[in-house]
């Protein structure tokens, strides 16, 4: 703390000139400290002195002394209150003001008691405040400290609350996260709850600001009620409200009196299969249940339990075939070629061909063969499309195939099956053989070949057959086939109706789901629905 030098005018004999000299002498010291006895400032141009000179004098001598020195009465000098020094032991209104300001600046934790008495706690707060502002920490509140205290404390930014664990985000889209959209969301949620016999509560939906992943956002929020069933896994709810529908369906199902009569194991299966928020099997199962839920509500408890168990056992509840979007990661590859092949033996025709080599980053290689010129009137996938589909196959599947053949003509077997099944337009799409050849046939009747996802999915399915037969053999009543059968019996549910056709189809359909759903929430949902089969694939198939 700088040594404080005071200039005192002891009597009126000292001249203003003398005083000014003293002021000049002490100027440096005064700059170091803001603690003064000065209590007021005089108006400028008094007694011929400039404003600055008088201010200097006031700072150093005190107002009263300057007033006396100037020989003027208070009638000719206007004194304006400016600040009052506060220090340990002070009390009064200025100390109260000080304490209030220190609290505003959060200089003390806990806040000071605003009692107008400058005690040790106020002193500590003053020290802390002075340090925080880069002032001399002398504990004396003078002009500079008052000036710093008088700077308006910016209003604290109100930090919105973080999303609570029972809250779901209906939207943060700036186009819709507005109060005028709240009613629309209330209506949608209401519909999805009432369909499952649950009572909505519109007061639980509101537009507010919340912190999501550390960022404050405007959002429409739904507070989830436990009576509606387990809380959806998804926090961000899509406009289709599928996640809400899923858990409300579980809530509605479990609220049925007949639920008590469903065996424990089946309860778990039903909860998982009905409650899946994103997978096709759960969506199809819910759609099936929704169609008959109103009548189930009126049934006896036994019949309700029977109707629920039918969701597991009956054909026609799940999707016809697996058609999940293929989400597994593509394996990078290079396509080399083509190499011309004269008189290549396609299925059903011999024709000139081009051969490409697909080299995958993980070391696997495939050959892709295509006709040099397309057969007139036949439409097939391109070499690039075939290569693209193969890149979605896990290594275990690519390792059991060696060739993708884009056949020059339709399957020569087709006319036979057209007769056997009285289906004139019977048309094969793809063949996977034990020799490691995947054949894709052109279509004569239409250019509308199956889309990318169907092609990817079918290749996963077909190579799944090749993989299972090569790895487990063809005797389905022994070895790993028996393990799979036990898994089917334990899981009870099938991923599609097609999977119910035979154990071989169940393996291929489950593999298709297992590969397609990788890297999505669906994967964990399916794992809950067919856990034993996924356990086998974890060990045997390894994507």
């Amino acid at each position: 703390m700088p040594i404080r030098k005071r200039t005192r005018i002891r009597g009126e004999r000292e001249t203003v000139q003398q005083a000014l000299q003293v002021v000049e002498h002490d100027e440096e010291a005064d700059q170091e400290s803001d603690s003064h006895d000065a209590q007021s400032e005089m108006t400028p141009q008094v007694a011929g002195l400039s404003r600055n000179t008088i201010l200097h004098l006031q700072h150093s001598m005190g107002n009263r002394a300057v007033a006396r020195m100037l020989g003027s009465s208070t009638t000719s000098t206007t004194v304006i209150q400016r600040y009052k020094t506060a220090l340990l032991g002070s009390n009064g209104e200025h100390v109260l003001d000080l304490q209030q300001k220190l609290n505003k600046h959060k200089a003390s934790d806990p806040p000071l008691k605003e009692d107008s008495i400058f005690g040790p706690k106020t002193l500590a707060a003053v020290h802390a405040f002075q340090k925080s502002k880069g002032l001399t920490s002398d504990g004396i509140v003078g002009e500079k400290t008052w000036a710093a205290l008088n700077i308006e404390v910016p209003a604290p930014v109100v930090d919105p609350p973080a999303l609570a664990s029972d809250e779901l985000v209906l939207t943060t889209d700036p186009n819709f996260a507005k109060s005028e959209f709240v009613d629309w969301f209330k209506g949608e949620v209401k519909q999805h709850l009432e369909k499952w016999g649950l009572a909505p509560d519109p007061s639980l939906i509101e537009f507010k600001k919340v912190k999501i992943s550390g960022v404050a956002k405007d959002a429409v929020i739904l507070k989830w009620k436990p009576a509606w069933g387990p809380r959806p896994v998804a926090t961000n709810i899509s406009f289709s409200m599928e996640a809400i529908d899923a858990k409300a369906a579980v809530g509605g199902m479990q609220a049925l009196p007949g639920w008590a009569k469903v065996p424990g194991g089946d309860k778990t299966i039903l909860t998982n299969v009905v409650g899946g928020e994103t997978n096709d099997l759960s969506v199809a199962t819910r759609n099936n249940l929704r169609g008959k839920f109103a009548s189930i509500l009126t049934m006896s408890e036994d019949d309700q339990a029977k109707a629920l168990k039918a969701l597991i056992a009956d054909k026609g509840v799940g999707p016809g075939v697996v058609a999940e979007q293929v989400n597994t990661a593509k394996i990078e590859y290079e396509l080399e070629g083509p190499v011309a092949k004269k008189d290549y033996a396609f299925r059903g025709i011999t024709a000139d061909a081009e051969e490409w080599t697909q080299k995958f980053k993980d070391g696997v290689q495939l050959v892709i063969v295509a006709p040099k010129a397309p057969t007139v009137g036949h439409h097939n996938h391109t070499v690039q499309q075939a290569a693209d589909s193969a890149s979605y196959l896990p290594k275990s599947a690519r390792s059991v195939i060696n060739t993708i053949l884009l056949n020059a003509v339709t399957n020569p077997d087709d006319p036979h099956w057209a007769v056997e099944y009285n289906t004139p337009d019977f048309h094969s799409y793809m063949t996977a053989g034990a020799a490691g050849v995947v054949t894709i046939y052109p279509d004569k009747s239409t250019k509308d070949l199956p889309d990318d996802n169907y092609r990817h999915g079918t290749m996963i399915h077909e190579t799944g057959h090749t993989w299972s037969y090569k790895k487990w053999g063809t005797k389905k009543d022994e070895g790993k086939w028996l393990d799979w059968k036990s898994a089917m019996d334990s899981d009870k549910v099938f991923v599609s109706d097609y999977a119910r056709a035979s154990i071989a189809e169940d393996v291929a359909e489950t593999i298709q789901v297992y590969v397609s759903a990788q890297n999505t929430e669906k994967f964990e949902e399916y794992r809950k629905i067919v856990p034993k089969r996924f356990d086998i694939l974890d060990k045997e198939y390894k994507p």
């Binding site: 629309w184 016809g320 077997d413 056997e420 063949t431 034990a434 057959h465 097609y498 056709a501």
Partner: protein, 108 residues
Amino acid sequence: MNEATSPAGDKHPGEILYDDQVDGRQWTRQATEVPQTIAWVEMDGTWEAVIRIEITGTPGQRRISKFGKDGAFLESTVQSPPPPAHPQPHATPAPTKTPVPRPTPPKD
């Protein structure tokens, strides 16, 4: 050479069992009655006789799997999918409805 003989001249055992698990039917055909491509499958340069054909799947999309001697898996063919429903469903879910603001009617 007839259908009971492979392109390489191998003799077929004679009968093929059709096991239709979609319709729940079974029937047999003589190798001589069916096209050569039904009765034989090429495996790494040799021709394997088809002994059993298993038909699975659904009536709209059958899968035909061929098995040889000792039940060995030979190949599996899937029928083209039925034409997609129109309009074709989106690959990714779309909002069922787009919220439309409801302006409050002005008060008199």
